[in-house]
Symmetry: C2
Subunit: 538 residues, 2 copies
């Protein structure tokens, strides 16, 4: 059959040809900006030609440092479609890590949202590979900046060629993008995405049994475009011709609800903390959210209580997904199967709370201390993955060999798998609590705590213990209405009603807020460090 | 990213792991036979090991000569998953062509349904490459046959290994299957399907905006498994875990309706003549067809009247698709888009009658006498296609160079394309009527005739004419109730109300039945030959 290379050119050309009038909507501080895929295509072509004028060559890394907005979308396609590599930098990293990854990736050009310039100025003297800073702004004048040399994105586009031809000679295995993921210790690790990997992941996201992205959808990635390709949503929207809504800089729950209501979003995607925040507003203030056919939630496990609230109070189907930067990112999705349709609602919620079934295209093993675990929902093992959108190494990184072993990606996630093949994340290998030789799942305890009506957020860590090696300690942030009004014992009793006695944490620490990573996950590392002597001192 | 090869092993292993209890149902003369994907997997593994015992090696062609039934499904996977090539022979070909393609493909083993043995016995002395005949039968005793050497499928399986490991070292570009397509003149032409091509076509069929095959579906391919992989449905069912219903030998419309009713089919697929036949029965006799979410129709253009009857009388959504053996086969699908939802019903039917939008993954040009046609629904051009499931040649065939030119497959189909990119087949390049230097679409005339309430089937061909070079002549089979009760002039007047005067056929010939090809398409070639002097004689 024909040797057609699976490259991103095919995606953008499909949007231009078949969906020229579909809208891309960006929320800005100044209001809503909209244009059509026809405009998007021309501007991406202008950008591609402008980047070549700036000296960007095949294989060069071009980085973005930006929110979810239309220029970022243009970069998503223009850069790979000239054979260069889109490096999306997480704006929430420390200056130290930002400098590290720009140097490690050897970024040649850096495209920056105007309001984020100060974060790059902090590291400007440490990033010698960058030959040009391109400022993405609506202002006709460039702002004062210590960066040099700076270019105006819009001026570059004005000089660019709207009829520029994307490369047709790109091999599907060439790099299209890259993204760094935080390491437990040390510097972030880079994952390179090939055209083929992104293309196949995109196809997978359009399957009826995964997310079913469609021309009929209006999709809103709340998950940042600097985080694992915004779960591939920009690529899927362009391939399938969905209307795309980009929520811009720092969207609040109110802003998201207004967009859902006014743009009639059908499928939105974000981490659990986003949906927790949105729920809090929605419970107090009415918004029309009836257009939503799916709320996609991943990044960390969504508590059952959260899923239940969306489904039962607001009738919004919740799709729980699992994945990571190394898997581009979607690896499993929890959808109901035909044999579930007559189950009681409570059981359906249980299933929706799982990480779900491996998506078509990937292979998985769950490997415990004695090899592959039995599919009984009980035995715990580490999740191993392989497939065409799974990384095979960290970019130029000695640490690759700890994670990519004999053709399998070892995720570090601990899970069980039930009779039907539904995955349930139990913990990170490093977050399991090993108490007296037995494993305790911190995630199960967290989910139980977060289902408590007075609890806003909770996390559980392993703390060294003189007798049991490790014991669980819980950290809880209460809902504002219950602040300072809950005793530890109330929560401990509540847990004792659900778990074996030895699973119940040795202590509960109330915090105003659980510290989080740059992508909104609970930052267990800092708690572990801070509380390492907690049980010794007690 | 990982260098995972896209092979059929991944499909069958997914069904075994995730859908072991989903059913595969075969209708036999003796009744319904059902087993589960778990059984299917074990039997496919037994077959794979048995074929190796028979001496089948990597790259060898193993042919099937069979109806849609579960053993054929096992062959669909066992053969490619040991690196051999599944050659599905059209049982409706002439003996001459059957012998030709077995020799041309150099088939080593031939797997034959018991009732079809006589067709192979006719050519037994002309097919020296075949080293073994495997008889697929429920009978414990092999029938008397002149074939030699013969093996019992079930005895081979009994000796086979249910734990046999499929090859994991197959390159995705290796051949997985092949199918011959009839040529206008001369011998059939072979198309080879790679693992990659089938895999990507299968993914495409699961997209929400194409056919959306899903675990929730019960699918029934009426289209034969010896014809373009039954439009890829067996592969899709296995990949996505759909319940699969195989209608067995020579299913009548009554049999199909009984299966739809009893097995609760959600998605059935066949050529227009199948759905015309089913409709005739359904109009007289009630069946519960409420489970159907889609009737997929392709192979030749479905008349608007047929689509209208299904949708309006029975509320069955009709999905009109377009493709061919050379495209594995689906190239376009007519689904409604979000901007169509407020259109009047009549306009929606118009859209559903089109061949629809190119599916994601392929590229298309429609090329007329002056290059690519404008997208205005008026200009006619030939459909050119390229993509990962489009053939790049005919197998060992000099005629390849007439069809595969500069990286494009020239389909020989003439079409227009409208502002939104919806394809409308107008004719075959060779079936266009060239009257006085202008083109007349035989398909438009056929569709108009078939929408007439008294007409059952109609076809239109170009007949040589002394003055105009060619003029259209129509052939009409009336519905039984109207037989011998319609005058030519009634139909000519009917057409004159819809077309320019010079489009109206010069004659209408009533036939009891329109002659058809082995795959149910109208056999224009024989009519052209038989009526070549019709207008000269008149």
């Amino acid at each position: 059959m024909m040797n057609t290379q699976l490259t991103l050119r095919l995606l953008i050309e499909r949007a231009e040809k078949y969906f020229p009038k579909k809208e891309v909507v960006t929320r800005k501080a100044s209001g809503i900006f909209r244009y059509m895929y026809a405009d998007f295509g021309k501007r991406a072509r202008r950008l591609a030609s402008a980047l070549q004028t700036l000296g960007v060559q095949r294989g060069d890394r071009v980085a973005t440092f930006a929110w979810n907005q239309h220029r970022h979308l243009e970069a998503y396609f223009a850069i790979p479609c000239i054979g260069s590599v889109l490096h999306t930098i997480n704006i929430r990293l420390s200056s130290e890590h930002i400098a590290y990854i720009i140097n490690h990736a050897e970024d040649k050009v850096l495209m920056i949202d105007e309001d984020l310039i100060p974060l790059i100025e902090k590291v400007k003297d440490q990033i010698p590979t960058v030959k040009a800073f391109v400022i993405m702004t609506d202002n006709p004048e460039l702002p004062e900046t210590a960066l040099h040399p700076v270019y105006s994105y819009e001026q570059l586009l004005e000089a660019g060629d709207p009829g520029f031809q994307f490369r047709s000679d790109i091999d599907e295995n060439e790099a299209a993008g890259m993204c760094y993921t935080s390491a437990t210790t040390g510097n972030p690790k880079g994952v390179v995405y090939s055209h083929r990997g992104i293309y196949l992941h995109t196809m997978c996201m359009g399957l009826a049994d995964t997310i079913a992205y469609s021309e009929n959808d209006t999709v809103m990635p709340v998950v940042p475009m600097f985080h694992a390709n915004a779960w591939g949503i920009p690529f899927a929207a362009v391939m399938f011709g969905s209307k795309l809504v980009l929520p811009g800089a720092g969207p609040t729950p109110q802003i998201l609800l207004e967009l859902i209501q006014s743009e009639k979003i059908t499928a939105a995607a974000g981490v659990p903390t986003i949906w927790t925040g949105v729920l809090q507003v929605l419970e107090k203030q009415p918004y029309d959210v009836s257009s939503l056919r799916a709320v996609l939630c991943g990044g960390s496990a969504a508590p059952r209580g959260l899923i239940k609230a969306y489904e039962e109070k607001f009738g919004i189907p919740f799709i729980h997904a699992y994945g990571m930067t190394e898997t581009a990112p979607v690896a499993s999705v929890s959808r109901l199967r035909s044999n579930h349709q007559h189950l009681p609602v409570d059981r359906l919620l249980d299933i929706r709370s799982l990480q779900g079934m491996l998506v078509p295209g990937l292979e998985m093993r769950v490997v415990g201390q004695n090899g592959d675990v039995n599919w009984n929902g009980q035995e715990m093992g580490e999740v191993w993955l392989r497939g065409p959108w799974v990384a095979d190494e960290y970019y130029n990184d000695e640490r690759s060999k700890e994670t990519f072993i004999d053709g399998w990606y070892h995720s570090g996630d601990v899970a069980t798998i039930d009779e039907e093949g539904y995955l349930k994340l139990v913990d990170r290998t490093k977050d399991l609590v090993k108490s007296g030789g037995e494993w305790i799942s911190s995630v199960d305890l967290e989910n139980a705590l977060m289902a408590h009506p007075k609890v806003f957020e909770a996390t559980v860590i392993a703390v060294p213990h003189p007798k049991w090696d490790e014991r669980p300690v819980a950290f809880v942030a209460l809902k504002p209405d219950f602040k300072d009004q809950v005793e530890k014992q109330e929560l401990l009793d509540y847990l004792a009603g659900q778990f074996a006695k030895w699973w119940v944490p040795d202590d509960i620490v109330f915090l105003d807020e659980i510290p989080k990573t740059s992508v909104g996950k609970f930052l267990k590392r800092s708690l572990r460090e801070q509380y390492k002597d907690h049980l010794i001192r007690m």
